[in-house]
Symmetry: C2
Subunit: 343 residues, 2 copies
């Protein structure tokens, strides 16, 4: 077995009778190094199997070209698409992405944030954990000039970059769509108000749409959940179908909830969309698998990821110490009318 010690620029320097500084510069195409030397160095590096030690470089230069991503989980379609977007953009600028999952736990989020800081990431992209109420664990980034971008589930009061959709108007659009499809008893599921208020905003849109179109607001048709699993959705739907009369429409703020409602309806012999129309949120893959296909609101996950990464990279480039208010980027959503809300 080869007990290969890692090859360093020092090894290359020795072999070529050059200074380490020359090697270091040649490897990065520094303009003060002759083409000849550059070629020679690169060739030898290749031959010797040199791989730069990013730890050393990071320590020395205090920049790691690494973007830390801190999200609840990678298993949600929305979030994995977000990652995908981040990665695509990062890769173009030669940034490495390191992903950590909070599993929607505040404590884990705090730990992971520390770990990211400990790893001296160049920038951070975060979608908050469900549990998170306090965001002081992000101060370490802000205080040290490490660009921080919140995505989707963002804190309300934190002067940093945010990439979001307009949840209010999305909720409004979804509800309006159901009204236009003839619904007059529209139910809504919402989730425990948290820091980010994402579900609250969607609910606000729902309420406003009802008001604007003179549809009665019935508190019995609004179900409040603490979490948004499939099982929660089944419970909520059953509660709705126990009403008399049952609602004729549902705006669910997530496709999983919507799907659970459709399936519960089917199980109870309620016809979708004839007796009960549904619109979800996110445009998850399942929305096209379920029968009937689910109407939903698009959520531009990949675009959001790209936008967030762009902000980080741009900010790092200009290295401006701006105390300016950080902008909020709003991305578009659209109603995707499929079978589950057909007239």
């Amino acid at each position: 077995m080869e007990e290969n010690k890692h090859v360093t620029i020092y090894d290359i320097a020795e072999r070529l009778n050059l200074a380490t500084s020359t090697i270091s510069r040649a490897l990065k195409d520094h303009h003060t190094i002759s083409d000849k030397t550059i070629k020679k160095v690169k060739k030898t590096a290749e031959e010797m199997g040199f791989v730069p030690n990013t730890l050393a470089a990071g320590l020395r230069g205090n920049k790691t070209r690494t973007i830390g991503v801190l999200i609840p989980t990678v298993t949600q379609p929305f979030l994995s698409s977000l990652i995908s977007g981040i990665e695509i953009t990062a890769q173009k600028s030669d940034y490495t992405v390191i992903i950590m999952q909070s599993h929607d736990s505040y404590d884990e989020e705090v730990n992971m944030a520390k770990s990211l800081y400990s790893n001296r990431v160049s920038g951070v992209i975060c979608s908050l954990a469900m549990e998170t109420r306090d965001t002081s664990h992000f101060h370490q980034f802000s205080n040290n000039n490490i660009p921080l971008v919140f995505v989707d589930r963002v804190p309300k009061d934190y002067n940093t970059f945010r990439v979001v959709i307009d949840n209010y108007s999305a909720g409004y659009k979804a509800t309006k769509h159901l009204i236009e499809q003839g619904c007059i008893r529209i139910a809504h599921i919402t989730a425990g108000s948290e820091l980010g208020n994402l579900y609250n905003e969607r609910k606000r849109g729902y309420i406003e749409a009802l008001k604007d179109h003179n549809v009665d607001i019935d508190e019995n048709l609004i179900i409040n959940l603490n979490s948004v699993t499939y099982e929660d959705g089944v419970k909520a739907s059953n509660a709705l179908f126990d009403l008399d009369p049952i609602p004729d429409g549902l705006f669910a703020p997530g496709d999983i909830l919507a799907v659970s409602a459709v399936q519960t309806a089917k199980k109870r012999g309620i016809k979708v969309p004839e007796e009960f129309k549904v619109i979800g949120f996110n445009n998850d893959p399942i929305s096209q698998i379920i029968d009937p296909n689910l109407s939903t609101i698009t959520h531009p996950a990949e675009k959001m990821g790209k936008a967030a990464a762009d902000i980080i990279i741009k900010n790092l480039k200009s290295s401006k110490n701006d105390d300016d208010a950080k902008e909020i980027t709003f991305l578009n959503t659209e109603v995707l009318a499929r079978e589950s809300s057909q007239k």
Copy 2:
């Protein structure tokens, strides 16, 4: 804005009039340091907002307590569950996980591998890209005593740890199940033979099961695909349904393919499972969403992730330079009989 320079052990040392070495040791509960000092140091560190610089520690100690994960994508349910398993185990032993996606491209995989090495990860867990035929880019790990574990899509000839399921027997079980449900014209979809031979193995199991049960093997019922997207599945299914007579069963080596077959069948008025029974593979979430629910083969993604991480960590602990043959870990699969293959 606070222009906080990072707090270092040097800052703590200065404040407490102690040596940096004392601080370093105190922070790690070294037994040669008095309890009093340890307490004092920890308190001050906390107060000053000290966060260890893992780059420096990694550089110095040549170990980073980081596991690099190199997989095709995080968006596949199987792979995101795998990650989940890796993370759970890693976190218990205080390892950090860094994830990179090859997007099934050989070139990206080579790059990412270099990047992981460059980051001096302590160990690597990899599921190969579809495109990968050559695995020499992993030698850098093997040669430098960095534990390497392949998972699921593994190379055939590479003396390193492997965590897999027995694809042959899984394919056999799936096919046998269809036979037991009364199928006699069982179709199969397979994918271009690659290094890992995962699909080939499943196909081999399919063939053997047919033979063992005296069911005719009809080459027309076996469709070979280059990729395994939903669209590919639709094409394959249509080809099968254009046959006369159509097959009465299908073993699809992935749930997406199976779902596409079910939906294509429905579109063409073919009744599932009455006229056409289907079994998939992986037990993806969609398998429980589609109507009828999809029979499938379980794939213990999270367990595999845990097993792989365990191997890395154990190996790192014992730091034995074993030239021994590396073991292969086989995990169990099961037939999950649901509606789509009902008699």
